[in-house]
Amino acid sequence: MIWNPERETMSRSELEALQLELLREQVAWAYENVPFYRQAFRARGLVPKDIRSLEDLQKIPFTRKSDFRDNYPFGLLAVPRREVIRIHASSGTTGKPTVVAYTREDLETWKEVCARNLVAAGITDEDTVQIAMGYGLFTGGLGWHYAAEHIGAAVVPTSSGHTKRQIMLIQDFETTVFCCTPSYAIYLAEQAEEMGVDLRETKLRIGIHGAEPWSEGMRKEIARRLGVDPIDTYGLSEVMGPGVSGECTYHSGLHINEDHFLVEIIDPQTEEPLPYGEQGELVITTLTKKALPLLRYRTGDITRLDPAPCACGRTMMRMERVSGRTDDMLIVRGVNVFPSQIETVLLQVEGVQPHYVIIVDRERGALDDLEIWVEVSEDIFSDDIGRLRDLQRQAEFEIREMLGISARVKLVEPHSIERSMGKSKRVIDRRDVY
């Protein structure tokens, strides 16, 4: 089934005509209402009416994650605060979060695009959808929540965690769709097996996954151990949250909701656009957003595009599963982690800039494990082991306060990081997900 056949099966020429119309409106909206964009346009001698074709998009300067930090909290808003009815946030590159806001119309759009993804995944109003993505500032929980209600499914808003209870409710409520990060799906399977529950014998049939990197191997493992068809979805809070794109049951890429999100692939170094099929950084321009229009947003995600129609009947272009990042951002248990954030905490706690390395690992059937190795220098060394332990615990506490996830801080001998990891590596990602 297709949720919005009129839009989702449009011919490419019709779609491009619609995109151009919406792009011109969105550019004018951003220019007129956001000083940041007005200045960026003026600096290039550009005015909205210079955008006459979809190719003209390339004249527009990029927007970056750092622009959110520089305009924290509401500098990028295009509407007065009274029109904002929801605010979400994700972690930023330093201490301040990345803030996103929605008008009533934005929330309607969000619900629509997420509903399309859920229907493309094979979900109907007969389904019971248990949402184990975090509710709260994170967009994952509430994004899927309203969309699942919108298509008439029964929503079980469990949020993340409480794994034993999740398993009990899957059994008792006869949950058919489980929505969570891929690593949590594996963890769920592990816990269920420990409890003597075979998830394959429950009513579960579809897994909605996203918010963190995963591999084909993990997809197969989730399918095998949960007895579900695992569906990949993609989104990011700056642009909307979940709902940017999602797989259909043919698993041949993630259909992008192109009537709301105009996509390009660029070479992250030269910043030049790349043709379809080439791998590069995904750049998104929102077409219909009111509170937070974004022009040429650098997602940092590496993928490629395929505009050919899909066997499912949808004409919306497909993107490949994200295969990496252009920057050093890590996604750990669905949370964005920048090394610069960890560095800020360590500097604060230790009083000096320590040598450190961030290690992310994913043991079989477990959640992502974040470990930070800090070299003990003469500056922080104390003959009193209690003081060293306090440093360790305080750093762990501050990291949890800042990121919302726990990390283990390990004190190591000087030069040991360079010895075992090689020079100047700040992040070791041992998860086999890309």
Binding site: F381, D383, D384, L388, Q392, K410, E413, H415, S416
Partner: protein, 139 residues
């Protein structure tokens, strides 16, 4: 009574203590006593050696983190109750807190030697001089 003790940071895994003590052995430094305090993944090794300043240098040169700390060293008779009566009771009465302590036997003698890291070095030293008199040894 005051002696300089070395404190070195080591990761808690096989071969690290060997690595540290080998540095001293190769530099011809004699180890008098040692003690390890560990916190699961790391530890601090306390060392009494015959040439503390030289030891500090060679350990640092080998790339380890090390510092010198002043501690108290006393000799007491190797007999029941000596530690309690001569060291612990006087320090407790004077309000001196012991952060850590370890003991070793002096070669060919009937005394035990105790190393004490205390929070108040001056007071600790005065207290023990009073309590031990001539038994207190020079470091």
């Amino acid at each position: 009574m005051r002696v300089k003790q070395l404190s070195a940071f080591l990761e808690n895994r096989p071969g690290r203590l060997l690595y540290l003590l080998n540095i001293l052995a190769e530099a011809g430094i004699n180890l008098i006593a040692h003690n390890i305090v560990d916190a699961s993944d790391f530890g601090i090794v306390h060392l009494l050696v015959d040439e503390p300043e030289k030891a500090l240098q060679v350990i640092r040169d080998a790339g380890l983190v090390c510092s010198l700390t002043e501690v108290l060293q006393v000799a007491i008779p190797d007999e029941p109750g000596a530690f309690v009566k001569r060291v612990l009771e006087p320090l407790a009465k004077a309000g001196v807190n012991i952060e850590y302590s370890y003991a070793y036997s002096a070669p060919s003698s009937k005394e035990a030697r105790i190393v004490l890291k205390v929070d108040d070095l001056e007071l600790g030293e005065r207290t023990l001089q009073g309590a031990l008199g001539g038994d207190a040894i020079e470091g």
